[in-house]
Amino acid sequence: MNKYILSILVENHSGVLSKMAGLFTRRGYNIDSLTVSITDDPSISRMTIVVSGDEQITEQIVKQLNKLIDVIKILELSPQKAVSRELALIKVTLEQNTRSFIIETVNIFKGNIVEMNAKSMIIEITGDEETVSTFIELMKPYGIKEVVRTGLAVLQKGSEMY
């Protein structure tokens, strides 16, 4: 099972997300992560979908997505040729003896502490998927209360537009 990143330009109107999600459900494809936002052209949204599967399944996913009238363009991005970032907010339990260790780790990962009280803090981490996952692993022993991850935002490297 490999991970594939699909960067998809779609018409920005209601119903598109449900058509896309419905396709994944019906054909039994799994979504690892999904981000949607509008582009510089307000009539177009970009969906970044990370899927795992083999090459044949991914090819089918791309073909089936392409059949949707609202899908304008699909680019399959290889991790080597793309820049990917994910943001996570992590609420960690604070105790007198753990506070400095946590802050030290946050600094190493160039994260931000965005909220803090006597019992917990919320940490903001940005990076590729692996960096975020590693950070979350490191926080686990301290007691994670809640985590939210945005999913990947990905752009192809180089000056070309598509």
């Binding site: 119903g15 419905g22 019906r26 044949q56 090819e59 073909k63 392409n66 949707l68 009238i69």
Partner: protein, 536 residues
């Protein structure tokens, strides 16, 4: 102009002559506009039939069928018709009424999310939110339905939108940035295909319903005539290709002929044209076409590599691609291969079961001989479908319509209604079982109201025969398949003013078919068939 009038004008611009529908309050303005137009409205007795009739009409005329239903339950009842058309790639426009825009999402009376409910089996769908968009949406809907791989498009129109005043101008061009179907086959791929075919000893063409969707029967025959390559076909590929054509080996698949399947297994190059080679065509076999190098021609790129991996895919309109192939192909020496197939055909010639009551195979052979060459035959789903696919002789110009993909029971009667309205002067026969008849018999009302003349060939074994057969084979027992205490079908159709006759033996068949053909109204031939008659 009122948006409702604009919708009807769009239909007129698209040359729509007939719509099949069932009214309700949320399509009130649309029906008022329809009343004032020249478009004929056929009132069905159940919305499902509106879908099947529109689909039958579309296939018979090779144009687009249009059906209309009201919001909520009306639209929901239409679903089976839409899904059936989708599975067989039939171009269709389904127009549904929707509750007022300000009430959407409030769970009001007769509200249903029909777009959401049909997402996975419409080619595309629109919920009209701004009346000004109607001309563009209708233009796009028709364009999407008929181009590329055809399919149903749903347009859901809230009541208040229908009543809104708009400026009407029908767009002359369509520009959908996410929809650009491929028409021309890739030249390099065609060249590769030609080389592969030229080097083959046992080439075989497998014809699917896509050939008919593309109106490419003529081009197919031209390719075969020049190359001398034999063909087999799927259930959907039976329509339009003469059965007795020298190069037509016959139906493949789980319910196909053994010799046709044997030809598939023995071919060294397999040319798939407009077929998805789904489970019924391959017989679920993983070894299907494994020996052969596969050339796959389809307008839908997603079909290539979905069920079968192809060595040489050619995406595009198969009419164009077949023309290109014919231009470049030379005669292949297939004499040995053809005689080999001919031997198998003799060897495996189907042995008929003993004549218990009416033999359905014989009934279909006789019907084939007696009806006109340009007759349109619809078959339902079940044993009747398999028997028809085996024994209906396709003469040149004859048509065969059935629900091949979804396998929807109750298809044959409403589809035959669509065919009869499309071609009032042509013979239309609907073949069905006692199960499928009872699933759509409400349409007898539609037939009576419109004075349509259809022959029903009903195989009555007082069972859901196909399931009965399957359960008997698999479980050695049957359950839930008995249709005992069936009504008197002849009396039933007589109540509608139609003719009918029960046939108990083969010897009475000819007289009954003759009477049906001479009748000036719809006529039921009820064949009493033994439940032991099987398809396999």
């Amino acid at each position: 102009m009122k948006a409702a009038d604009a919708i009807i004008q769009c239909l007129e611009k698209e040359n729509v002559k007939i719509v099949f529908g069932y009214p309700g309050v949320p399509v009130g303005p649309l029906y008022e506009a329809l009343r004032k137009s020249d478009i004929e409205h056929i009132l069905v007795r159940h919305e499902q039939a509106a879908g099947h009739s529109a689909s039958g009409y579309a296939r018979a005329t090779r144009s687009i069928g249009v059906c209309i239903a009201t919001s909520g339950p009306g639209a929901i009842n239409l679903i089976t018709g839409i899904a059936t058309a989708y599975a067989d790639s039939i171009p269709m426009i389904a127009i549904t009424g929707q509750v007022r825009t300000d009430l959407i999402g409030k769970d009001v009376f007769q509200e249903a999310d029909i777009i959401g409910a049909t997402d996975s089996f419409t080619k595309h769908s629109y919920l009209v939110k701004d009346a000004k968009d109607i001309p563009r949406i209708m233009k796009e809907a028709f364009y999407i339905a008929k181009t590329g791989r055809p399919g149903p498009v749903l347009v859901d129109i809230p009541l208040d939108i229908q009543n809104t005043e708009i400026e009407f101008e029908y767009p002359s061009v369509v520009n959908i940035r996410g929809y650009k179907p491929t028409v021309n086959g890739h030249k390099g791929q065609i060249k590769k295909a030609i080389e592969k075919i030229k080097g083959s000893k046992r080439p075989l063409i497998c014809v699917g319903g896509g050939v008919m969707s593309a109106n490419a029967e003529k081009e197919l025959i031209e390719f075969i005539e020049k190359s001398k390559i034999p063909m087999v076909h799927t259930l959907m590929g039976k329509d339009g290709i003469p059965s007795k054509y020298l190069y037509n080996v016959g139906l493949i698949g789980s319910h196909g002929f053994k010799y046709a399947n044997k030809a598939i297994a023995a071919a060294d190059v397999l040319i798939l044209v407009g077929t998805r080679v789904a489970d019924r065509a391959t017989g679920g076999s993983k070894s299907f076409g494994k020996v052969a190098d596969i050339i796959h021609i389809d307008v839908d790129p997603a079909e290539i590599g979905k069920n079968l991996s192809a060595l040489i895919p050619v995406v595009g309109d198969c009419k164009k691609i077949l023309q290109d192939l014919t231009d470049k192909i030379t005669e292949i020496d297939t004499k040995v291969w053809l005689s080999e197939i001919a031997t198998w055909k003799k060897e495996y010639a189907k042995i008929r079961p003993t004549n218990l009551k009416v033999n359905p195979q014989y009934a279909l052979e006789l019907l084939s001989e007696m009806i006109e060459d340009d007759a349109i035959v619809t078959a339902d789903v079940g044993q009747n479908q398999i028997w028809t696919s085996h024994y209906l002789d396709m003469t040149r110009g004859r048509r065969f319509l059935t629900s091949g993909g979804l396998g929807t029971m109750g298809y044959s009667i409403p589809a035959s209604v669509g065919c009869t309205l499309a071609f009032p002067d042509r013979r239309v026969v609907a073949v069905m079982g006692d199960g499928s008849f009872q699933m759509s018999m409400s349409e007898l009302g539609t037939i009576r109201q419109n004075h349509l003349k259809i022959i029903f060939l009903l195989f009555n074994n007082s069972k859901l025969g196909m399931v009965n057969e399957y359960q008997s084979n698999l479980y050695k027992n049957t359950y839930g398949v008995d249709l005992c205490e069936n009504p008197d079908f002849v009396k039933l159709v007589e109540a509608y003013g139609f003719g009918g006759k029960t046939v108990n033996s083969n010897s009475e068949l000819k007289g009954a078919i003759d009477e049906a053909m001479k009748s000036n109204k719809t006529f039921l031939i009820e064949c009493i068939v033994s439940a032991q008659e099987s398809t396999l």
